[in-house]
Amino acid sequence: MLYLELFFQGIVQGSIYALIALGLTLVYGLLRILHVAHAALFTLGGYLGVIITNATGSFLLATAVAMIVVGFVGIAVYKLAYEPLLSKPPFISLIASIALFIASEEIFRIIFGPYGLSYTNPPMQGYFELFGGFFLKYGEALVIALSVVMLVILGWFAAATRLGVSWRATVTDPDMARAFGINTQNVRYMNFFIGSALAAAAGVFVAMLNNLVEPSMGSVASYKALAIIVLGGLGSIRGTLIAAMAIGIIESFGTIYIGHLLDRDALAFAFLIVVLMIRPQGLLGAK
């Protein structure tokens, strides 16, 4: 039962990584930019989740509002940091992104204070006990369930709706898409909106599991999400999802059994290095 529990803990963590890394992959796929500042949106989502839940008492309302608000903030980040720099080499946008991320940590500290925020009434406390010995907290089950729901909806949207198809078309071939009358500007906005909204959801979930949001909570997410998209293969959505789950599970078992040798981040990166040595293009990257 312990191993099953550790596996599920890995899935929980992997789901959160997936929600964050997906936004990063979407931006990379569309614009070839490494959107480090994405982690700031994760943090903002977490803060909004706590603040709105504390103000209204409804966790689900908070999640929805956080996702929508942060979605728009994501568009603002695109307009502020990336749109003006699209004609420049990609490392310029990367520098802008890193700068924005560093600034965001201190902006959160200035606005929300250095002490971090917690829920006044922590939601989703309590746990399931199944098959006599398998425990899973309500919050953890909710994270897995909601992540699956979001990813399924996203998949359906991309495959079956007009907007979704035009989005995929723009990613594949922007010039052709434009020739077909697709407004690539709107597609970009939508891209950032969706990616940022998912990151916000991840932030809300992390806040719910930990009962703490802090200005620097995005710092691990920022570089780990990058590692995940590289591991999965840059630009591959399926690769990102698999890599996120893999890292989640490896961290879960690794922190228990080899935690005295390597800490959680070291484990994730060690795994990344090993995979890249064997498959430099990542798990599902194009050769």
Partner: protein, 381 residues
Amino acid sequence: MKIKSKLMTATICLASIASSSIADNIKVGFNVPLTGFAAADGTSALNGAELAVEQINTAGGINGNMMELVVYDDQASPKEAVPIAQKLIESDNVVAAVSGSYSGATRAAAGIFQESGVPYISAYAIHPDITRAGDYVFRTSFVGEVQGRAGAKLAGEMLGLKKAVVVTLQNDFGKSLVAGFKEVSANYGIEIVGEYEYSIKDRQFGPIVSKIRADNPDVIYATGYFFTAGPLVSQLRAAGINTTIIGQEGYDSQKFIDIAGPAAEGTIITTSLDRDSTAVETQDFITAFEAKSGNKTDMVAASAHTAIKVLAAALQSSGDADKAALRDAIAGTQLTASTGEISFNGLGEVQKSVQVQVVKDGQWHHHSVIHDAALLAPPTE
């Protein structure tokens, strides 16, 4: 007329000489994390130190001179602390300095202060190597190992809990506490059935919680700061694990209780601040701190306050003499401060009892005190 104007000039000259020496502030360096992951503790420590300086200056200063705190933000990083130490010594010309920061930064800075012969007092950073930097470095709170040993006695003897899981924060602070705990745990009949480590960035402890449930201990000895311990305790209780949790001074903050919420009830810690103490110095400090900062007090604020008071007392007694005399005055300290009776041994370590506090009704309260001179003897080298 001539005599009058001469007298006037003479008076003005004397007055300006006198006022310039009165305006000579005594500069004391203070490195503290005001940004970065430790900003919350740093802000609190700074409030404690500033309160001490205010109180000293209101009471007339030190031999008539006002004390001035020269504050730098070291982000609890050794890389930042070293240039700050150099700056304090070379360009700010401080007579001494206090560290309001964590062990990593303090350890790095201690070497610099020792080399330059500037007295340095660690308010709450507990790594043993800090005072080993030399005879100019002192510490007003216990070494990590001493507190760890106290934790073992608390668990094994005072609470009679014999099956322990140890959760270690992988840094100077966490490791030295656990080293002390493990050093004497066998003496109290404690069997360690599981040992896990986590990094200072971790807040999600799902796998550790699952494994602890499988280990089924009587007590969990977990080292960390309030921003790691709060989530850990909250997650343990949410998973239905009701085992006694023993923490240390890193938990010692109202923020721990805010984060863990009702899950914090019953958490026991070893620390140096007794909020229910009847000692005048402690109660005065608590009242004054809460009035000044609007927040509840905590161990880092009390420790910073204590360190400044110790330094002020030493400055008072050594007068205008040089830094060597100041060092000797600090070494000879006999002072009752908010965190207890302060006196130093040859290594610059303090010897005092360990306070044990427990969370009751959402506040820290007195649980017990550990007096055991042999167990709590600080290192002498």
